[in-house]
Symmetry: C2
DNA sequence: TTTCAACACTCAAACGTTTTCGCAAAATAG
DNA sequence: CTATTTTGCGAAAACGTTTGAGTGTTGAAA
C-alpha cells in the first residue's frame, strides 16, 4: 500500500523546498529549467495529484455543487440530476447528492452540513413537508451567508434566488389543443384536487383551450381524484359512465388507468379514444400502447439550473445581484396512445 | 450578506485565543466555566458551525463516500443509491454521486478526481466499456493507495475488494419453481444471448429447475433475443408460434411484451398464462396487470455496500485485511401476472 | 571596485481546525 | 510565608497547498 504523495514528500526526496516543487509543477518562470524538469519527471513517475481538500481550503471554494432532492427513486429527479451532472462536469464541478426524503428536518440537516464548506452552492427542490410548514428559514439563512441557491420544480416566492420551473398551464394547453386539432370534441380530464398546484394549473390549461376553441366545458367530463390510493376505481367509474373521445390525464399513472378502463369498456386506444398524459417517464415510454405525453425535460431543467448556479459562482463580486426565473418549455411527445 | 463565522473571528470578538474558543466549544475541562459559557453563547447566537473542509484536512478524512454508477436514470441504481444514503447518513457520512455514463474515460476521471482527498472510499458499479476493455488499473491503483472500494452488481474477479452481488441463478430458480408449483408445464423462457452474463445465469437457473422437476426442456420454448431493438417482434413471433402455459422473462421489458403478445393471441394473463419478470422496477409495479417478478433489492444491496465500506473505514489499522463478498438474496414479489 | 539586476530558489503566511505543550496566576499544602 | 499543585489560558504546530516577499549568488554595467 502506497499512500498519496504530497508536495512535502517530493520536496524532501529531491532536496528542494516545498514552494519550489509547487511552482515547478505549475510552470512558474521562477524555477530553473533543470529543476523544473526533474520535479515534473518525479511527480509524473509517482503520479502526484494535488490534494483537493487542501486546495479547497486555500481557495475557499470546493468546485462542488450540492443537489438536494426529495427522493431519488423517481424518474423526473434522476433526469434532473443527469442534466446537472453534465453541465457541472463540463465546467469542472463535482456533484454531491443528498436526499431530504421529503422531510423538513432532513432537508435542514443536509443543507447545514453541506453549507459548512462542503459545497459552493445548491440546487434544490423543496421537500413536501417543508412546503406544508412553509418554513424556509434554513434556505434563507444559507442564501444570506452568500451561498448561491437555485430552486427547481417546487419553488416558492418567499425565497429570493434563481429558479427553474416548467409552465404547467402551457403544457396542458399543448396537450388539449393537440386533441382538439385531431378531432376530439368530448375530452375527459383526469386531474387531482385543486390544492395540488400542479393539478390546478393543468386544469386551468385544459379549460382555457376548450374556451379558446369554443368547445363547451362539461363538468361531468372532469374528474378530480381525491384519494390517490383509490384512483384506479374512481377512474374506472368515470370512464364507464361517460362518453369521451379523448382523455387528458395530469400524470402517467392516471393515463394508464384511463387506458385500461377504456379497453375494458371495449374501446380501443388510440383508434376510438386518444389519451395524453403528463410527465414523460419510464411508464410513458414502455407502457403498451406507449403514451403520448407532455414532457417536462428534466434534463434540460437540471442543465439550466447548473448553468445558473455556476454563473453565480463565477460572477465577479462587483457585478449586480439579480435573480432569474427560467421557464423550461414543455413539449408534446407523440407516441401510440393518440391518433393523428 | 453575512459570511461564515470562524473561530478566529469569535476569538477576536471575545478577546480570547483561538484555541480557547475551540476548546470551549468542545467542552474541554481546561476552560473555565465562565469563559466557556460566554463563548458558547456567542457561538450559538451567531450560529457558528465548524468548517468541514478544514476539519477534513486536519483529520485526514472527509466523512464522505463516493458512489460511481454507470447511469442514474435507471431504477435499479437509484434504489442502490437510496440504500447507500440511508446507511451513510445514519453513520454521519455524506454521499457524493458521480456518473460514468458507461464510459471508461469518465470512470477513470471521476475516480481520480474523488480519490484526491474528496472521499474516504468508493462504492462502484463498473462501466460497460470498462468491462469490455477489461482494464481495471484505475481501480487497482486506488485500492493500492489504501482507499477502500466496494463493488456492486457488476463485479470482476481481478479486483480484490469487498463486493455485493445478487445470485441470478437462484433468483431465476425461484421464479421458475413458482410457476411449476402452480401447475405450469410448458414454460417459455425469454432471455438474452449467452454472452450477457445475466442472461446466461438466469437461463441456467431455468434449466436447472426444469431438470430438478423432471420437466422436459423444449428448445423451441427458449427464446434468446439478439437484437434488443427488435425484441418486440421477436417476442411476438415466439409467442404466436408456441404453446405455453407460463413465461419467464429475464427482465421487465421482455415480460410486458410477452404479456402483450399473449393478449393479442387471445390469451388472458394470468388466467390462461402466467408471466414472471426479473428486476422489480417501476414498470413491474405499474403495468396492467402488474408483474410478478424477481426483486433484486437494490436498496438492500446499497445498504450492505455502505456497511461494508464504513466498516473498512472505521476499522483499526492493526486489524487483519480481508475481503468479503455479500450475496443479497433475491425474492419473488407476487403480483397480478401470475395465478396462484 | 562598486552597484545592480537577473536568476533560482527559500521563507513564511494564509486558509480553519485541533491538540500538545508551556506558562502564568491562583489556590492549596506544609 | 514559602513550596507545590491546580486552574485557565495562549502559543505553536500540523494537515497540504499557493504565493508574495525575501535572500544569496552570479554576471554585467558603471
Amino acid at each position: 500500500m502506497r499512500p498519496k504523495l504530497t508536495l512535502k514528500q517530493i520536496a524532501r526526496e529531491l532536496d528542494v523546498s516545498i514552494s519550489t516543487v509547487s511552482k515547478a509543477l505549475r510552470d512558474s518562470p521562477e524555477i530553473g529549467e533543470e529543476t523544473r524538469k526533474k520535479i515534473k519527471a518525479f511527480a509524473k513517475l509517482y503520479n502526484y495529484r494535488p490534494n483537493n481538500i487542501a486546495l479547497s481550503l486555500k481557495n475557499r471554494k470546493t468546485k462542488t455543487i450540492g443537489i438536494i432532492i426529495p427522493e431519488i427513486v423517481h424518474y423526473f429527479f434522476t433526469t434532473v440530476i443527469s442534466g446537472v451532472e453534465q453541465v457541472a462536469n463540463e465546467k469542472g464541478y463535482n456533484v454531491i447528492v443528498c436526499l431530504s426524503n421529503n422531510s423538513f428536518d432532513k432537508e435542514v440537516l443536509n443543507l447545514e452540513l453541506l453549507a459548512n464548506g462542503s459545497t459552493d452552492g445548491f440546487i434544490l427542490s423543496i421537500a413536501k413537508e417543508t412546503m406544508q410548514k412553509e418554513d424556509y428559514h434554513h434556505l434563507i439563512e444559507v442564501i444570506n451567508q452568500g451561498m448561491p441557491v437555485v430552486l427547481f420544480d417546487r419553488v416558492v416566492d418567499e425565497i429570493h434566488c434563481d429558479k427553474v420551473i416548467i409552465d404547467d398551464v402551457i403544457g396542458a394547453k399543448k396537450a388539449v389543443q393537440y386533441l382538439i386539432d385531431n378531432g376530439a370534441k368530448k375530452i375527459g380530464l383526469v386531474s387531482t384536487v385543486d390544492y395540488v398546484s400542479v393539478g390546478k394549473l393543468r386544469t386551468r390549461g385544459y379549460l382555457e383551450v376548450l374556451r379558446n376553441n369554443n368547445v363547451e366545458v362539461q363538468e361531468n367530463l372532469i374528474l378530480k381524484i381525491e384519494d390517490m390510493d383509490n384512483s384506479e376505481t374512481e377512474i374506472k367509474e368515470f370512464i364507464d359512465k361517460n362518453d369521451v373521445d379523448a382523455v387528458f390525464a395530469v400524470n402517467e399513472h392516471f393515463a394508464i388507468h384511463a387506458i385500461k378502463a377504456l379497453q375494458e369498456k371495449g374501446l380501443k386506444v388510440p383508434e376510438d379514444v386518444s389519451v395524453i398524459g403528463f410527465t414523460d417517464g419510464e411508464l410513458s415510454k414502455r407502457f403498451i400502447p406507449s403514451l403520448t405525453t407532455v414532457s417536462q425535460h428534466g434534463e434540460r431543467m437540471g442543465a439550466e439550473a447548473a448553468r445558473l448556479l455556476i454563473d453565480k459562482l463565477e460572477r465577479k463580486p462587483e457585478e449586480e445581484e439579480s435573480y432569474k426565473t427560467v421557464i423550461v418549455e414543455t413539449s408534446l411527445v407523440e407516441r401510440n396512445s393518440t391518433k393523428s
